[in-house]
C-alpha cells in the first residue's frame, strides 16, 4: 500500500500565510493535525482532496507513493473523505449509498454480494434497503466509512469525524474506524479539536499554530 506524502505544502490566503506542512503518512498510520479553529486545518484537507476554494493559494505537492495527485481532478485522486456529518445521500437507500462509491468492476450480482458482505461485517445486513434517515448516529457513521472503504481509496482524510457522535458511542466508533484504517493499511490524516481523538489515534500529532 502507498504512503501519502505532503511535500512542502504552503497555503496562503491573499497575503496571509495560513499554514505550512511537510511530512509523510505511512500506510496504516493515523496522523493527527490539531490547532485552534481558523488555523486552516480543514483548508489543508480541502487542498489534498481537491476542493480548495479559489480564495486560497497553495504551493507544494501531494503524492501517493510516486504519483502526484494534486494536479488531478478530485474524482481521480482516490482520496476518501469523511466529514463530521455522515452525509449519506438522502435519496438513496443504504445499499444505494454503498453502491454509489463502488468501483464498477465485476457483475452486478458480484457487486451486490460485496455490499452485503460489507454490511454483514458491521452487523447491518438487514439494513440494505433502509432509508438512511431511519438509522441511528452510530449506524450512519459506520455506513459512511463502509462507503469510503468500498470506493477503494488509497488514503483517508478525516475531518472531525467523531465530533457529532454522542459521548458513549464516540469511543466505540473511533476505535472501529482506526482499526479498519490499519487493517486496510491506509495512510490517514485526521483533523480534530478533541484531545481524546488524538490519544486514541495513537500516532504522531502535529499542532498547527496561527502563523503570521
Amino acid at each position: 500500500m502507498a504512503s501519502l506524502r505532503l511535500d512542502d505544502i504552503v497555503i496562503h490566503q491573499g497575503q496571509h500565510r495560513l499554514l505550512s506542512l511537510d511530512t509523510t503518512v505511512a500506510p496504516g498510520e493515523v496522523l493527527t493535525v490539531m490547532g485552534p479553529s481558523g488555523v486552516g486545518k480543514s483548508t489543508l484537507l480541502a487542498f489534498i482532496a481537491g476542493f480548495l476554494s479559489p480564495t486560497f493559494q497553495a504551493q507544494g505537492r501531494v503524492l501517493l507513493d510516486e504519483t502526484r495527485i494534486d494536479t488531478l481532478p478530485a474524482e481521480q485522486r482516490h482520496v476518501g473523505l469523511l466529514f463530521q456529518d455522515p452525509l449519506l445521500f438522502p435519496h438513496l437507500d443504504v445499499a444505494g449509498n454503498l453502491a454509489f462509491g463502488m468501483v464498477r468492476e465485476g457483475t452486478r450480482r458480484q457487486r451486490r454480494e460485496r455490499i452485503h458482505e460489507a454490511l454483514a461485517s458491521v452487523g447491518l445486513e438487514a439494513f440494505a434497503g433502509r432509508d438512511p434517515a431511519t438509522l441511528s448516529g452510530g449506524q450512519k457513521a459506520r455506513v459512511a466509512l463502509l462507503r469510503v472503504l468500498l470506493s477503494q481509496p488509497r488514503a483517508i482524510l478525516l475531518d472531525e469525524p467523531f465530533s457529532k457522535l454522542d459521548a458513549e458511542r464516540r469511543g466505540e466508533i473511533r476505535h472501529w474506524v482506526f482499526e479498519r484504517v490499519r487493517e486496510h493499511r491506509l495512510p490517514t490524516l485526521m483533523v480534530t479539536h478533541d484531545e481524546a481523538d488524538a490519544q486514541a489515534a495513537g500516532g504522531r500529532i502535529i499542532t498547527l499554530d496561527a502563523e503570521q
Partner: protein, 570 residues
C-alpha cells in the same frame, strides 16, 4: 476525461446563453421600435429619417391623459402594494399569521394577471357579486346601478387589480430577502431593546431589507405603468392607458399607423423610465427623512393602529382575490342569473359542454408553448447556477440587472420592436417565436424561484460524491439534481404558470396564429359573454394549479420512503 471537458464546456456556455436570451430580444426589440419611430422601416417604404411619427403621435387627442393615467395608476399601485407589504411584515412577521399567509403565496402568485382581473371585474361590476350581496337589503337596488366600475375614469379598479397581484409577488420576494438581511435577528435585538414589533421592523429591519427589494419593486413599477391585459380588462377606455392605445395602433389595419405606434412604444419606454426616476427620487427622500427618525429612540409609532390597518388590508386583498376566483367559478356554471340573486340557481354544466369543443385547441397550444418555454428556462437556469457554484463566486451586480431586464423594460416597447424586426428580416411569426418570447419572461421567475435553494445546497454533498470517484456529470445527475428535485419542480411550476399567463408576447409574436386560453380570455373579456369568459379565465387558473399540484405530489411519491427529502419536514 472527455466527459469532464464536455461538462465544463456546457456549464461554461449555458450562462452566456442565458444572458443572451434575456438581453438580446430586449435590446434588439427596443432598437427595432426606435428606428420606425423616426420613420425608418424599409419593408413598409420608410427609408428617410423624419419626425412625422412623433408629430402624428402628439396630435392624438387625449395623449396627455393616457400618459398621466399610466403614470398615476402605476406609481399608486406600486406604492400601495409596498406599503401594505411592509406594514404586514412589520406587524405579523413574528406571528403564526405570517406563516399561514406564506403558505398561500405561491398559488396566489400563480394566478395569471388576466384571470385575477376578470374575476375582479365580475366581482365589482354594477351587477357583480358585491352589489348582489348587498342588494336589495342594504342598497335598495332592484336593478344593477349605473356606475362605471370597473373602468372608472380614475383608474381605481385598475389600481386595485394591480395591487392584488403585486402584494403576493412582493411578499414572495421578501421571503428570501428577509433571510438574507437576517431580519429575525435584527428584530430580536430591537425588541429586546424595548421596541414595539412594527417600530422594530421599520427602524431595524427595513434599512437592510429595502435594498434587497429594490429590483423587484422597480419591476413592479415597470409592469404597472405598462400593463396591457390588466388595463384592457379593468382600466378606463376613454382614454385607455398609453400601453393599451399603443397595442391598438399596432393592430390598426392601416400599415402607416405602425410608424406612429413605434413612436408610441418609445413614449411608453420614456414614461416607464420617468416613473422609475420618480420612484427613485422618492426612495432617496424617504431614506434621508427617515435617517434621523431611525435613531430618535422612540419605541413605538401607533403600532397597534397600523397593525389593525395592515391586518384589515391584507384580509381585504386576499379576500378580494378569493372572492374573485369563486365568482369566476359561479359564472361558469350560471344559467339564468337575474339581479340581485346571490347565487345562480340551478347551476348548469351547459356552458362547459357548449364550449368543450372550442377549448381543446387553445388548451393544447397553451400547454405546448408553456412546457417548451419552461423546459428551455429550467435548463438555462440550472446551467447558470451550476456555473456559479463551480466558480464559487456570487452573481455580479450587472448579471442581476440583466436578469431583471425583461421585467424592467416595458414589454410593449420591446416586443413591438421585435415584431417590426420580424417583418423586416422576414422571419415568420408563429409557435417558435412565441416560445422564445415566453421564455424571456419565464426565465427570470424560474431563476428567482430556484436560486435560493440551489445556493443553499451543502457543497459537501458534491465533495463527498467526487471523493468517492464520481465525475461532474454523475455528481449532477445522481446527487445534485435528486437533492434539488423539489425546488426544481416548484420553479418549473412557477415558470409554467408565468407562461400560461402571457398575453402580449403571444398576441404580438404569434401574429394571431397562436391562440392560448389567455388570449381567448382577454379578448372575450371585452365582449358580453361572462359565462364563456369565466370558463377561459378558470382554465387559466386550472392549468397552473395542475402544475403546482404535480410539483408537490411528484417528490412526495418519488421520495415516499426517503424521510429527509419529503417536502415539509424541515
Amino acid at each position: 476525461m472527455s466527459t469532464a471537458v464536455a461538462y465544463r464546456l456546457v456549464v461554461g456556455v449555458l450562462p452566456w446563453l442565458t444572458i443572451a436570451l434575456l438581453s438580446v430580444p430586449v435590446v434588439a426589440g427596443v432598437l427595432g421600435a426606435l428606428a420606425p419611430a423616426f420613420g425608418w422601416l424599409p419593408v413598409l417604404g420608410g427609408e428617410r429619417l423624419t419626425l412625422v411619427p412623433w408629430r402624428q403621435l402628439f396630435a392624438v387627442p387625449g395623449l396627455v391623459d393616457m400618459a398621466r393615467l399610466s403614470l398615476v395608476t402605476g406609481l399608486a399601485s406600486a406604492a400601495l402594494s409596498l406599503g401594505l407589504v411592509v406594514l404586514f411584515l412589520g406587524s405579523f412577521l413574528h406571528t403564526p399569521l405570517y406563516r399561514r399567509v406564506q403558505r398561500w403565496l405561491s398559488p396566489l402568485l400563480a394566478v395569471p394577471h388576466a384571470a385575477a382581473a376578470i374575476g375582479l371585474a365580475f366581482l365589482l361590476a354594477p351587477s357583480g357579486w358585491v352589489a348582489r350581496g348587498l342588494s336589495p337589503w342594504v342598497t335598495g337596488w332592484q336593478y344593477p346601478p349605473d356606475f362605471a366600475f370597473p373602468g372608472d375614469a380614475w383608474g381605481l379598479s385598475l389600481i386595485l387589480g394591480l395591487v392584488i397581484k403585486e402584494v403576493p409577488f412582493l411578499l414572495l420576494m421578501s421571503l428570501a430577502a428577509l433571510v438574507q438581511c437576517q431580519a429575525r435577528e435584527r428584530l430580536t435585538v430591537a425588541r429586546t431593546l424595548g421596541y414595539r414589533p412594527l417600530t422594530a421592523f421599520l427602524k431595524g429591519v427595513m434599512p437592510g431589507l429595502y435594498p434587497l427589494l429594490r429590483l423587484p419593486l422597480y419591476a413592479v413599477v415597470a409592469f404597472a405603468t405598462s400593463t396591457v391585459d390588466v388595463a384592457m380588462i379593468l382600466g378606463p377606455t376613454t382614454p385607455p392607458p398609453l400601453a393599451v392605445s399603443v397595442v391598438g395602433w399596432l393592430n390598426d389595419p392601416a400599415l402607416s399607423m405602425r410608424f406612429m405606434a413605434s413612436a408610441g412604444a418609445m413614449l411608453q419606454l420614456l414614461l416607464t423610465l420617468t416613473a422609475l426616476l420618480i420612484w427613485w427620487t422618492l426612495e432617496r427622500l424617504v431614506a434621508r427623512v427617515s435617517r434621523g427618525w431611525c435613531r430618535d429612540g422612540r419605541r413605538q409609532c401607533g403600532d397597534r393602529w397600523l397593525a389593525g390597518i395592515a391586518w384589515l388590508a391584507m384580509r381585504t386583498v386576499l379576500g378580494l382575490m378569493m372572492a374573485a376566483l369563486a365568482g369566476l367559478a359561479l359564472w361558469s356554471v350560471a344559467g339564468y342569473w337575474p339581479f340581485p340573486a346571490f347565487l345562480p340557481w340551478p347551476p348548469t354544466a351547459h356552458n362547459w359542454l357548449n364550449a368543450a369543443d372550442d377549448l381543446v385547441a387553445p388548451v393544447w397550444q397553451t400547454l405546448g408553448v408553456a412546457l417548451a418555454a419552461t423546459l428551455v428556462s429550467v435548463v438555462l437556469v440550472l446551467g447558470a447556477l451550476e456555473a456559479e457554484t463551480q466558480r464559487r463566486r456570487p452573481m455580479r451586480p450587472w448579471a442581476q440587472l440583466i436578469l431583471y431586464l425583461p421585467l424592467l423594460v416595458p414589454s410593449v416597447a420591446f416586443l413591438f420592436g421585435l415584431v417590426m424586426m420580424q417583418a423586416q428580416v422576414g422571419v415568420r411569426p408563429g409557435l417558435g417565436a412565441v416560445i422564445i418570447g415566453h421564455a424571456v419572461f419565464v426565465l427570470p421567475y424560474v431563476f428567482l424561484s430556484l436560486a435560493e435553494s440551489h445556493r443553499r445546497l451543502d457543497p459537501r454533498w458534491s465533495q463527498q460524491a467526487r471523493s468517492l470517484g464520481a465525475g461532474p456529470w454523475r455528481v449532477f445527475w445522481h446527487v445534485r439534481l435528486p437533492l434539488l428535485l423539489t425546488p426544481v419542480l416548484t420553479a418549473a411550476a412557477v415558470g409554467f404558470a408565468v407562461s400560461v399567463g402571457q398575453y402580449l408576447p403571444t398576441i404580438l409574436l404569434g401574429a394571431g396564429r397562436v391562440v392560448t386560453v389567455t388570449t381567448e380570455a382577454v379578448s372575450l373579456a371585452s365582449g358580453g359573454d361572462r359565462r364563456l369568459t369565466a370558463i377561459y379565465a378558470l382554465l387559466q387558473l386550472l392549468l397552473p394549479a395542475i402544475g403546482f399540484m404535480l410539483a408537490m405530489l411528484v417528490p412526495r411519491y418519488v421520495f415516499r420512503r426517503r424521510r429527509d427529502l419529503l417536502p415539509g419536514t424541515d
